[in-house]
């Protein structure tokens, strides 16, 4: 609960501070920026703008901004105006736009053409029930009246039409487009007021004063529905955002302004519009700056032109070419008094009424008149008041007319408060940095020149202190306290520590007691870079300087000491190719060299050869080989079989696998069994018979 209250209180304080500081933003009148934007958006390389609406919008914008139009545009636009007016199929909307374009171009059109459309317009006016029908027909008739002054409405018609438009109004000041549609809008309100203003101007006699009073009431109600931004700008915005044909606040506000301006032009009395709201509206348009589309540029410029003709409440703008005043360049506070379109309003003087120091509510009363420079048409504050040093202030200006009667024509909005920054060069003296041993005087002290980079190298342990001090003085020899006075220690590993440099009177001093800071420094010994940043919005020589470095010898970190925060990995090094990896294959087993194997192979073969040689030596023979053909065949097959088995083993070594070998071996084995039995049986029989013989 308390936490919430505390937070709310904090918010309240913030809100109050904001209120106390609520200065209006500076608004500049229509400028070159608008002109270049208009030229960009309404560019017509072939002298052609597309539809008549576009043509009108372009021409109207150019007219207000004072841009010379191309002769080609006139030719092609006039041709299309004439075509529309002559065509029997043109509806009132097209005729309206054609006449509007014509009013800007004054094309050479025969009066008969105008008479031709006049009757059609009157007919459609009599049959009209929807607001747009009224709007286009009346608008066209008003424009026709400029061409042929005889065009008018008689009293009965005028009152009847005004009444039937009036029935579409709503209690909140908005209007409906027709009686069947319950949706009402500010946009329609603007058109309705413009239409009734047209009826009043067309009427041959005085219109019913009740209608005018009711309309005035409507205007007041309309202005009750205006929206406000925090910076003092006012605008109209439709409540129903999703409605079909939604119009942005710019075009809605422009439509209302057009209506009000038309109405103000035809009533002799004042409309009693609030100065604040009219100024706010014009500031809204000026605050938009450069809009993003041709339509918006037209709406903005046309609305500003309409506001500028608003009788009795022409907005008076005090604009400031510069709000940053440099004392080194001898800049002066300049004020320009203009209307919204940027033309200078003569016969008035500007007074500097009050100056507030930032942060305090009460301002010193000055009441100083500014000098008017006829050449540049600006009011200049020639000398700043004595008490003003560099810093940020709020100046309060007021426009005073030479002729007090003239004030009634303008909406001045009272005093204009503007933030003014007086800047200058702050001098820095007596800068020195020192390492102190406990509380005794300095062991080494180095003078610094803060006008350039320094490269002092210091060293300290955790029992010592570092002291940095300097003086700041403003050009008028006052002490100066900048907003930003930071001392930064950066460890080699990238860990940064910021210390605010405090002030005692004129002297800025910071003492870093490393004993108390070891934990904050994460017990990181090593080289620390020292940087000093001094900056303020009033200080022209704000800087960030490297002072040098300090080698710190701090004790080892105890176990539970906080670890330094992880440093961010450099984005460029985080990616990129990794080092290649090649697989290391297992080395082949180490074997004896070939010559050795071959030698042993030879050695192994020798006994075999010896065996054969000795066999012959012992007199081995084939005498016992069977003589009988069948037995000889079996013996032969038996030995061929054995040879086949042995060759099979050779083949097994060379290429065969175990399965094939066993299969073949099985077959040969079976064969060997048979022939072996026959052969051995024969040999056994032979040997037993020979034994018998011998015995």
């Amino acid at each position: 609960m308390t936490a919430f209250m505390g937070r709310d209180l904090g918010l309240l304080i913030v809100a109050f501070c904001t209120l106390a500081w609520a200065t209006e933003s500076i608004f500049h009148p229509v400028s070159q920026l608008h002109r270049s934007a208009a030229l960009e958006f309404f560019s017509s390389p072939d002298g052609h703008f597309g539809s008549l609406v576009d043509t009108y919008e372009a021409l109207r914008t150019f007219q207000v901004l004072g841009i010379q139009k191309d002769a080609k545009i006139r030719t092609s636009a006039c041709a299309s105006v004439l075509e529309t007016l002559k065509s029997p199929t043109s509806d009132t909307k097209h005729i309206f736009h054609a006449l509007k374009t014509n009013s800007l171009l004054t094309c050479e059109i025969n009066h008969e053409v105008f008479w031709g459309i006049q009757s059609g317009l009157t007919d459609s006016l009599n049959g009209a029930s929807a607001l747009l029908d009224f709007y286009y027909a009346i608008g066209s008739l008003v424009l026709l009246k400029d061409q042929i002054p005889e065009v008018s409405l008689n009293e009965g018609d005028a009152n009847r039409i005004a009444q039937s438009i009036k029935t579409l109004s709503q209690s909140d000041g908005r209007w409906r487009l027709n009686s069947n549609n319950p949706e009402s809008s500010f946009d329609a309100a603007g058109m309705a007021i413009e239409a009734i203003a047209g009826v009043i101007s067309l009427s041959t006699s005085e219109i019913d004063p009740n209608v005018i009073d009711a309309l005035k009431n409507d205007v007041v109600k309309l202005f009750d529905g205006i929206q406000r931004y925090d910076d003092g700008t006012y605008y109209f915005e439709e409540k129903l955002v999703d409605a079909h044909g939604y119009q942005g606040p710019l075009s809605v506000s422009a439509s209302v302004v057009r209506g009000i301006a038309a109405f103000a032009a035809v009533t002799p009395e004042s409309l009693h519009l609030s100065d604040e709201k009219i100024l706010g509206l014009s500031k809204y348009f000026l605050g938009i700056g450069v809009p993003g589309s041709a339509k918006d540029v037209y709406n903005l410029i046309d609305a500003l032109a309409c506001i500028n003709n608003l009788k009795g409440s022409i907005p008076l703008l005090l604009s400031f070419p510069a709000s940053v005043i440099s004392t080194t360049k001898n800049n002066q506070v300049k004020v320009k008094a203009t209307n919204v379109l940027g033309s200078v309003i003569p016969n008035l003087s500007i007074k500097l009424m009050q100056i507030f120091t930032k942060g305090s509510k009460d301002g010193s009363v000055i009441d100083q008149k500014l000098k008017y420079d006829h050449e540049t048409e600006v009011h200049v504050l020639e000398t700043l008041p004595e008490s003003i040093d560099i810093g940020s202030y709020i100046f309060s200006f007021e426009a005073v007319f030479d002729d007090p009667e003239e004030k009634k024509n303008y909406a001045t909005g009272g005093r204009t408060k503007v933030p003014i920054y007086i800047t200058g060069v702050v001098s820095i003296d007596n800068a020195e940095i020192a390492i102190l041993d406990s509380d005794s005087e300095s062991s080494e002290s180095v003078k610094l020149d803060l006008k350039r980079e320094n490269a002092v190298s210091l060293s300290a342990n955790h029992l010592q202190k570092m002291k940095l001090s300097f003086h700041l003085t403003t050009p008028s020899q006052h002490s100066f306290k900048p907003k930003q006075a930071f001392l930064k220690l950066t460890h080699e590993s990238g860990v940064e520590h910021i210390f605010l440099v405090g002030t005692s009177g004129k002297k800025f001093e910071i003492v870093l007691d490393f004993l108390g800071l070891v934990e904050k420094l994460f017990y990181l010994s090593g080289k620390y870079g020292i940087q000093l940043t001094l900056g303020d919005s009033a200080m022209e020589n704000s800087f960030l300087r490297t002072l040098g470095y300090i080698e710190l010898d701090l004790p080892d970190a105890p176990e539970k000491a906080p670890r330094p925060p992880p440093q961010r990995v450099d984005v460029y090094s985080r990616y990129g190719p990794k080092p290649e990896i090649a697989h290391i294959f297992r080395a082949p087993e180490k074997t004896a060299p070939a010559w050795l194997s071959n030698t042993f192979l030879a050695l192994v073969i020798i006994p075999f050869i010896g065996f054969i040689v000795s066999l012959f030596g012992l007199g081995a023979n084939f005498k016992a080989f069977p003589k009988k053909t069948t037995s000889a065949a079996f013996a032969l097959l038996f030995h061929v079989g054995i040879a086949a088995v042995l060759l099979l083993y050779v083949a097994f070594w060379i290429k065969l696998d175990l399965f094939t070998t066993l299969k073949v071996l099985g077959l040969i084995g079976a064969f060997l069994l048979v022939v072996g039995h026959k052969t051995l049986a024969y040999l056994a029989a032979a040997s037993s018979s020979s034994k018998l013989k011998s015995s």
């Binding site: 942005g248 450069v290 990129g576 190719p577 990896i581 194997s597 075999f608």
Partner: protein
């Protein structure tokens, strides 16, 4: 008549098909963009920015942030491909949308542009925090820089910053150098050190700090120096891209059109760098640059074409992949020299940089290690600003079969010799034993 109805029907079906397809590699163009505003005035005051998007073919749908009919998806499909949140002060969204909805929106691969401003709401900060960006918690704080501010007649308090500390990345900011500094007025943020997906695009100078410009500092500010990020981008793991800026006004017509002169510099630029900076950055955010796709991953033994189901240890293998980059209109071959292939089982056994033919094809060959098991061909490509390529293809590696070992080992010849001599001896012995008389 019937024909025209049928045509209309077909066209509407086609159109629906276009609507339904969100972000995909087959058509990586984000086209439908939801723009949420605090106030419709932003639509006209920031119209140049919006117009530049519309010219590039984006279909912007402007809505008030508290519009009760606000919806991001219908029947489970998203209505938009991307969102622009220009509603810094909105405390809660209309409809049933909240911060989590936008995070889900990003999680499903959609892009987001978020602009905060001084006095940003908790809601906007929450979304930013979830993206790895922490805005200064002090609601009154602005980035102040007394050394590299923009010389201005209007903002004398040095909160209008002219920054030219851009990230050096052609893919994020385009290859054309941004000469003029970018104007910025708003709040600063830091990026989470543990988060490697966030990248600072525009940083403050080392003399900047973030504090209430009207108050006197009592403590050292939390955000200071070049660790302050003014504009950051995030590329999520699903390649959704997010742009986070601490200033809404940097998108405004006024800043886009304003001339700029940095304090202490003599060069004055007719136009600030904002337009180029934002156009290039949006190109990146909307995947018109730096979005890669990999195609046709192939591997086979040297000299063969067919992809085997298994490799043997010590086989010679060829691997190839094609990589293309989306240029906004078509897929262009991607040319780089740092694509790497890993032959991976628990850890990479082989890591090789791929060669390229400069037309998008990357290839290499290597010998399968003499370790058997289930390996993967892996291409993990991460590069600043590019979408991640992560390819992996599993392939088993077997040892030698019993008959694939070496048969004629010279060192064994004495043993073979002994065997065969023995066999020969046996043959001769049988003959002599059986038949000698």
């Amino acid at each position: 008549m019937a024909l025209t109805i049928l045509q209309g029907f077909l066209i509407s079906i086609l159109w629906l098909a276009v609507l339904a397809s969100g972000f995909s590699e087959d058509s990586p163009t984000d086209r439908r963009v939801l723009v949420l505003l605090d106030d419709f005035a932003i639509k006209s005051s920031h119209s140049l920015f919006f117009k530049s998007l519309e010219i590039r073919g984006f279909d912007l749908d402007f809505k008030l942030a508290d519009d009760p009919k606000l919806a991001l998806q219908r029947y489970g499909t998203y209505l938009y491909d991307a969102a622009i949140l220009f509603a810094p002060t909105t405390e809660r969204f209309g409809g049933s949308i909240d911060a989590a909805s936008f995070l889900d929106f990003v999680d499903s691969g959609h892009d987001l542009i978020l602009a905060a401003d001084a006095s940003s709401s908790e809601l906007i900060r929450e979304i930013a925090v979830e993206c790895g960006v922490d805005f200064d918690e002090d609601p009154a704080a602005l980035v102040v820089d007394h050394t590299s501010y923009a010389v201005s007649e209007e903002y004398g308090d040095h909160t209008l910053i002219a920054s030219d500390d851009f990230i050096e990345s052609d893919v994020i900011l385009g290859s054309k150098e941004i000469k003029a500094p970018v104007l910025f007025k708003g709040i600063g943020h830091t990026v989470n050190t543990a988060n490697s997906l966030v990248v600072k695009v525009l940083s403050a100078s080392s003399a900047a700090y973030s504090a209430d410009p009207n108050a006197v500092l009592s403590n050292s500010p939390t955000l200071i120096g070049s660790s302050i990020s003014l504009v950051s981008v995030v590329q999520a793991r699903n390649n959704a891209r997010i742009l986070i800026s601490g200033s809404l006004s940097m998108f405004s017509n006024r800043f886009l059109r304003s001339s700029v002169q940095k304090a202490g510099s003599t060069s004055k630029y007719e136009k600030s760098g904002n337009e180029q900076f934002l156009a290039e950055l949006c190109r990146w955010v909307f995947h018109e640059r730096g979005h890669l796709k990999a195609l046709n991953v192939k591997h086979h033994k040297v000299g063969e074409v067919e992809e085997p189901s298994m490799y043997r240890i010590k086989d010679d293998v060829e691997y190839s992949v094609e990589v293309y980059e989306w240029s906004g209109t078509s897929w262009e071959p991607y040319v780089a020299d740092d694509l790497q292939l890993q032959f991976y089982m628990m850890s990479p056994y082989v890591l090789k940089t791929l060669s390229t033919d400069q037309k998008g094809l990357y290839y290499t060959s290597f010998k399968v290690p003499d370790v058997y098991g289930v390996f993967q061909f892996k291409v993990e490509y991460q590069k600043l600003g590019y979408s991640t390529i992560s390819l992996s293809k599993q392939i088993p590696v077997r040892p030698f079969r019993h008959n694939e070992y070496e048969r004629f080992i010279p060192a064994a010849y004495p043993y073979y010799g002994a065997s065969f001599a023995m066999m020969g001896g046996f043959f001769v012995f049988t003959l002599s034993y059986l038949y000698t008389k």
